[in-house]
Amino acid sequence: MSFILKTIVILISICSIASLPYLVGSFNAAGDSFGVYPIEYIKEIGTTLIGLFNFYILEETTFDGVQINFDYLLEAYQYSMSLLMIALFISFTAVLVMLYGYHFLSGRMKKAVNWLLVLLDCIPDVLLIVLFQLGVIYLYQTTGFKLFQLYGIGDPVYLLPIICLSLTPTILLLKMSLTIKDEESEKLYVDFAYAKGVTRSNVFLVHMLRNMMLSITNHFSLIYWMMLSSLIIIEYLFVIQGFTLILYKVNESTLLAVAILLFLIPYLIMNWLFNKLHRRLVIDEG
């Protein structure tokens, strides 16, 4: 299929997601009713698709007394995405640092770390966030040390939401990276490098890291979408006037379709970037 055809199919698919409320319910002045409404659903998909092309001149809708126009959306989007991107960057860096530390652990310690991660992975992200908040409050109560500003009323807060947002991806990414690292350590070139007298640190930094980078970044797309659902929770818990909170209880298909498209943009950029990186790192060396 050609590129244009593919784009059209994807666009229709996105519109069909955004129109889903119309499949299960019909909302009009006469009252709401629920069931399956395929014809109205298909009509709504068409309307959404057309609405997508002139979204920027869309009449302003209000939500919770806040006027939503294009500028407002863009501002909220920037804030939410900067939270997400910084969190992703932090967790990636943290994983790399921890991976470097893991490289020097003894076999027994490595096993222990793996078990700990399996257990941590069982804790849902909501609980992790709640536990972290509890920890911060406990720290404040016992030592009087105020680490963060907790809730986002007034000025935009960055630090605490970002840390909370990066908790789950760090655990997941670290768990995946450790498997990749353990597989990489088995390979012959690693033994060869040790035999030639390359230091332990250099084997990791110069040789292994480069080979592992691709496999690790492969998981980014999964982690990006997972973080997006955490972001929704965090914006709600920290009372942040962000992008995802606007979408809550919204019954406006075009807005939802635009939201999904906006979610896709960072994902596509990331994919493109890692593809480039991969070519430079692996293929060009040949």
């Binding site: 299929m1 593919k6 997601i17 909302f27 069982c122 709640v130 659902s229």
Partner: protein, 294 residues
């Protein structure tokens, strides 16, 4: 080897016992348990609810003075049965549609795969989040049965697209075996191939996916619980009139977490007790996955 199969039997049996105990509790003992009476502390002051964990109440009490351990026991059946059936229906529908998709002409297959890409990538929670409007609009005059049904259908079908693609790929790989080619040549039908040759080979894989789906729907329930979307709808549950707290009507665990997430500062045990139950359940399911996989 022996230990492994014991554990694999032990975990489902203990979950079954928990559900049974939960039913017995509701039918037999629920009326007999009273709201915890007032307690006094060392200096004789009267304490108000919620009580922290103590000898009488191992996990503490909630704001209404109900024992949290008993509430968790009561909610166990709704939580476990709901996610179990969501996982089961997801798997069955996914398997059926996946098998259908496998035998479609290549052009249709490519189209369906492309069309479903956004559905697969966008997390189930975001799909349900977009439908949040509906959950609040459904009337609950009939005891919430209609709401539960709609929630069940929606929560099930948001998980289906990714399973359809997954299973269709699994079937595709399975079809490459030589004995299947031989079976074809002997005149076997597609239905025979799927039921007799593909499903038995993929049985372990399906069990793992089923367990993963249960975990995924548990986490989805917690996310929804934070947004006050409870299975079975909301019920007025505030102690005093001036504060508005909406409780989960059925009392499933995710609702227990969701409704008290903002209590974490004043009474952390109200959140942590059902949270612990959740983590334990997920640990059990993950253990099963690990044991089956090895």
């Amino acid at each position: 080897m022996r230990v492994k199969s014991y554990i694999l039997i032990l975990i489902p049996v203990s979950l079954l016992l928990l559900v049974a105990a939960s039913f017995i509790y509701e039918w037999g003992f629920d009326e007999n348990t009273e709201v915890a009476s007032y307690q006094t502390n060392d200096t004789g002051e009267i304490l108000t609810h919620p009580y922290p964990p103590s000898f009488d109440h191992p996990l503490g009490t909630d704001r209404k003075g109900q024992d949290l351990l008993l509430r968790i026991l009561n909610g166990a059946k709704y939580t476990i049965l709901f996610v179990l059936s969501v996982g089961l229906v997801r798997i069955l529908v996914g398997m059926l549609l996946g098998a259908l998709l496998t035998f479609m002409p290549k052009r249709i297959k490519d189209f369906v795969q492309l069309f479903l890409t956004p559905y697969v990538n966008v997390p189930a929670f975001i799909l349900v989040y977009f439908l949040a409007y509906i959950f609040f609009a459904v009337p609950t005059d009939d005891g919430g049965l209609q709401l539960i049904f709609i929630q069940f259908v929606i929560l099930t079908f948001v998980g289906v697209p990714s399973l359809v693609l997954l299973f269709s790929n699994e079937f595709q790989d399975g079809l490459k075996h030589e004995y299947i080619q031989a079976s074809y040549q002997l005149g076997a039908s597609k239905k025979h191939i799927v039921i007799r040759h593909l499903l038995p080979v993929l049985r372990n894989r399906f069990t793992i996916v089923f367990l993963q789906q249960i975990i995924a729907s548990l986490i989805l329930l917690i996310h929804l619980g934070v947004f006050r979307i409870y299975i079975g709808g909301q019920a007025e549950g505030s102690v005093s009139i001036d504060e508005e707290i909406l409780l989960s009507k059925s009392g499933e665990w995710a609702g227990m977490i969701g409704q008290s997430v903002f209590d974490i500062v004043t009474a952390p045990w109200i959140v942590l007790a059902p949270g612990m139950a959740f983590v334990l359940l997920i640990v059990m399911l993950n253990t099963m996955i690990r044991l089956i996989r090895v």
